[in-house]
């Protein structure tokens, strides 16, 4: 009898996740309804105008979507050489060695630093550097936020891909070595191709992180409501516009901000799904 109760308790807990997810979607959809009623889904997504002044009030998410894509993809690009190196260091060159444990711990600590501290560092240390280098007058830019974002996602991109690299069976590599291949050739022709889908999946997940990062980006991107013209431009991401304007928002503006939250949720959910599918392909191969 006791067991029955306990088992149903476990089941109820699992069911809770289901309800939680449904309630999350419901909350986002119902609270953003006003916006989608006013502009329609595509009308809201493709409109670049964001004007909170009450006389000409108009809301569209397009410039923030572009800002988000710009920063996220550029930060992913910046992080690739570093995270790939760390992954190869831990999963191939120094696999199982003590030094790889040290590198892993240090890189993991990067993931532990709060977003707001990254933002402070970016603002007080990196920004003056960019101004000095003449990247932009104020320093605030897509480039600055992507640079700091890249550092933030290195641990996410490298730990998973390093794990996939280290799972490659040794006999595959030994075969190549016995044919006289150098280590680089083994990495190039055996390790990387064999772990490819795992590595791709981990970069997709890292991209998901970059898309949703809020505080550091809010502090560094310059917060202007327009489509960024280039990397030196200021802009706003979906997450940063919510963080910046949620506090004083009400009515249509509040619902528009929640609508952006819904879009962000949909994008990250899709990204997660894609990463899952890519990894599933790996486990079947």
């Amino acid at each position: 009898m006791k067991d029955k109760i306990f088992r149903s308790l476990l089941f109820a807990a699992a069911l809770f996740i289901l309800l939680l997810s449904a309630a999350i979607v419901y909350a986002l959809v119902s609270r953003s309804g006003e916006t989608f009623q006013a502009y329609g889904f595509w009308g809201f997504v493709t409109n670049a105008e964001w004007d909170p002044r009450s006389a000409t009030e108009e809301y569209g998410a397009f410039s923030f979507i572009m800002g988000t894509l710009y920063t996220a993809f550029f930060s992913l690009l910046l992080c690739v050489p570093f995270s790939l190196a760390v992954a190869l260091f831990n999963g191939e060159y120094f696999k199982g060695k003590k030094i790889s444990g040290v590198v892993r711990s240090v890189v993991d600590l990067l993931a532990g630093i709060p977003s707001i501290v990254y933002g402070l560092w970016g603002f007080y240390t990196v920004r003056p550097l960019l101004i000095e280098l003449g990247v932009s007058a104020q320093g605030f830019s897509i480039f600055l936020s992507a640079l700091v974002l890249a550092i933030m996602i290195i641990p996410y991109a490298s730990s998973l891909s390093g794990e996939f690299l280290s799972m490659i069976p040794n006999n595959l590599k030994e075969g190549a070595y016995s044919l006289g291949a150098t280590r680089l050739e083994v990495v190039q022709h055996i390790s990387l191709p064999a772990a490819a889908s795992g590595i791709v999946a981990s970069y997709i997940l890292a991209l998901g992180r970059a898309l949703g990062e809020t505080m550091a980006v809010t502090m560094l991107i310059g917060n202007t409501n327009r489509i960024p013209g280039g990397l030196r431009d200021t802009g706003n991401t979906m997450a940063s516009v919510i963080a910046n304007q949620f506090g004083e928002a009400d009515g249509l503006k509040l619902s528009a901000l929640i609508a952006i939250g819904l879009l962000l949720f949909i994008i990250t959910a899709l990204i997660n799904l894609i990463a899952k599918l890519v990894m599933k392909k790996l486990s079947h191969a």
Binding site: V86, V117, I151
Partner: protein
């Protein structure tokens, strides 16, 4: 097979060496920011890192301005943030641990079942959800219906963030426990409930506790969801229905108030110490109670 063109052994060897060098170089470069950030926080923060930080609440902007004009240190600390963080994170722990443990046990016991697979997928989805979106959710669920910002709303947001992490670590730990543990217990006539509480959870303690500590360290520095839920307060508050501050929220306030800027770094230093301490303890626990 790729077309093999004869390349001199020397150039192949050189390329190999270059690659090795690049991997080492870029790996070390990836670690450099960590030291820069830590150095930045320590060198700028140690001056204001004193007892006052822990015993006094945040001063008003005016008082801080007067003090800096007289050349004095800023009169006040972040006691309201420390107590707020304790309250909000503490409540979030209360909400998320029992649920997370139960769901993790359920998932490890029902592997392969369709319902468990769906739950597992949704857990991943929750884990990947941006923290600001979770903030919106807690705003819609708690702040709006109850008519005001509160510590409770902040805890709800943080517990949604912690839940998937605890579920995952519990599930992974349970999976690693030998099946014989469970079978032996059941064979001796123990009830399933007893097997879970007297055998599985105690033997998986290390892994589960590590997961909990890491989850706490993750939400400790969360700012964005708290901005939408707990809002902040300039006094020490222990009431769950009142707006409450937290260390990261105070850092955000200081960042926006030029008069209080000096407190940024000591608060960040405290935050980093707490987070790294939690990570360190987690590592020790993981090593000591290895499954």
């Amino acid at each position: 097979m790729n077309q093999i063109t004869p390349i001199s052994f020397k150039s192949r060897k050189a390329k190999d060496k270059t690659m090795f060098f690049l991997v080492c170089l870029f790996s070390s470069l990836a670690m450099v920011p960590l030291f820069f950030i830590i150095w930045d926080v320590i060198s700028k923060g140690y001056k204001n890192f004193n007892l006052r930080l822990f015993t006094e609440v945040t001063p008003s902007s005016m008082d801080a301005l007067m003090a800096t004009m007289n050349g004095d240190p800023i009169p006040g600390g972040i006691l309201n943030g420390i107590t707020g963080s304790l309250l909000i994170v503490g409540l979030a722990i209360l909400f998320s641990i029992p649920l997370g443990l139960f769901i993790g046990i359920y998932l490890s016991d029902n592997r392969g079942k369709k319902f468990a697979r769906i739950v597992s997928y949704l857990t991943d989805l929750l884990q990947g959800m941006p923290s600001i979106v979770i903030g919106i959710i807690a705003y819609a669920w708690v702040v709006k219906p109850l008519g005001g910002y509160s510590a409770l709303a902040g805890s709800v947001a943080l517990s949604i963030m912690m839940l998937p992490m605890i579920v995952r670590s519990t599930e992974e730990t349970m999976k690693m426990l030998p099946n014989a543990y469970k079978e032996a217990g059941l064979a001796l006539g123990a009830s399933y409930t007893n097997v879970v509480f007297k055998i599985l959870l105690p033997s998986g303690f290390g892994g589960i506790f590590t997961g909990i500590l890491l989850a706490i360290s993750r939400v400790m520095g969360e700012t964005a969801p708290l901005m939408l839920t707990a809002l902040g307060a300039s006094v020490v508050n222990w009431k769950v229905m009142e707006p409450t501050s937290a260390i990261p929220l105070l850092i955000w306030d200081f960042y926006n108030d030029p008069n209080l800027v000096d407190l940024i770094w000591s608060s960040s230093l405290l935050l980093l110490i707490v987070i790294f301490l939690l990570n360190w303890i987690a590592k020790i626990v993981a090593r000591k109670w290895k499954v």
